[in-house]
Amino acid sequence: MSDYNFAYLDEQTKRMIRRAILKALAIPGYQVPFASREMPMPYGWGTGGVQLTAACLVPEDRLKVIDQGADDTTNAVSIRKFFQRTAGVDVTTDTTEATLIQTRHRIPETPLTQGQILVYQVPIPEPLRFLEPRETETRKMHELEEYGLMHVKLYEDIARHGQIATSYDYPVKVEGRYVMDPSPIPKFDNPKLSDSPAIQLFGAGREQRIYALPPYTQVVSLDFEDHPFDPSKADHDCDLCGASASYLDEVITDDQGGRMFVCSDTDYCTTRTGMGHRGRLAEDAA
């Protein structure tokens, strides 16, 4: 422990964030404005997620932090250390052991369970922002459920590319009401948003917005009858653990066109390797 208040933020700030979380849970998919604080890390490094985590943490928590699925990348390591120091919580890389998971742009492959909390770091919380830059207008569009423009964007994808080319940040509709930005998770992860037993909280620090999905909430990816949503992934198996149903990163291994595909979720891959599963290049990697 250190001389910081528990979980860094002062009590008044945490109360303000907590009130916003409760309203966000009561109105699934709606973006609740909150008075985001400056954190000891730059915007874009998860200040929204960090503030949510700080407001939710209890000393008994086991915290897991992932960045694009990996537990060992800079962002994940520094946020984990931050809360070890300011909240004195235990940390873990095991998805099943974690009680609170802060994530940047992935949902763990291992299914979440009731009681777990998943905190997303969100850069642009407004799904309509790149279609309409004015906040006053997008707020009106949400109020009136005026989401035709989003379907025009998806249609233009089809007209230009023959398919919906949006592969991450894929817009969803929550409980038939609000169109929501699921943060830049790959669309492969979108089906996991719906009907999850875990509480999902989304925090955008620079944009000062919090939104949430309570457990067992219906989340539908936008699509068309003749172009149904397709949660695609690279058409390979993991080269380390052989998993055929996990999201893969492509890694260039030489300048001769050599490449390998590995699970983006490092905990999932390591667990499978530990259980004896082997992929195409497992010996090389060992």
Partner: protein, 185 residues
């Protein structure tokens, strides 16, 4: 009991632990949770007192539905919240009959539905029976002993605007956000 006692003994830790329970309750409408970290002046239950200390501060006007001088003094000391009328309240506390009529409380704006009041309702009985609840946060359905159903149905019909309810009874609480569909059984 003096107004000076009965607050959190370890505010940072207790408010974190208390909020975690309150958040689980709001995320799973209709589930009953124990929460008794603060001791407000009688006759207010400990769950309601704890919720007030978790959420109220100088930025949140609190409406007390029935006059309660001891409680007002306790809140001023421990939470520092202004006491207000129903029309401007962020939080309101009272028995179901004292809180009527509900249309006095702010239900948010069409573009800012979060600017609505949260009502803490003290009940004599809180059990998992009675009206049937469905909606976000509820896996199949839940049941909760509500004082009535018409008011909660009207509240849901206004969603995304509307009021959110925290129902308390002694050391226990359950939540009923505006997103929950309430049906007579």
């Amino acid at each position: 009991m003096s107004a000076l006692t009965g607050g959190f003994t370890d505010p940072a830790i207790q408010s974190a632990q208390g909020f975690r329970i309150l958040m689980q309750a709001m995320a799973h409408p209709g589930t009953i949770h124990d929460l008794a970290l603060a001791a407000p002046p009688a006759p207010l239950g400990r769950a309601a007192g704890t919720v007030l200390l978790l959420l109220a501060d100088p930025t949140t006007p609190v409406h007390l539905a029935a006059p309660a001088p001891d409680l007002a003094e306790w809140l001023r000391f421990h939470a520092g919240c202004p006491l207000s009328d129903a029309e401007t309240a962020t939080l309101a506390l009272g028995r179901w009959s004292d809180l009527q009529p509900l249309d006095r409380f702010p239900v948010g704006l069409p573009d800012y539905p979060d600017r609505s009041a949260t009502l803490i309702v003290e009940l004599d009985r809180l059990e998992n029976d009675g009206p049937r609840l469905t909606g976000p946060g509820i896996k199949d359905h839940a049941r909760l002993s509500l004082p009535e159903t018409a008011a909660f149905r009207a509240n849901h019909a206004r969603a995304p605007m509307g009021l959110d309810f925290i129902l308390t009874c002694g050391d226990q609480l359950a939540c009923l956000p505006r997103s929950t569909i309430v049906e007579d059984c």
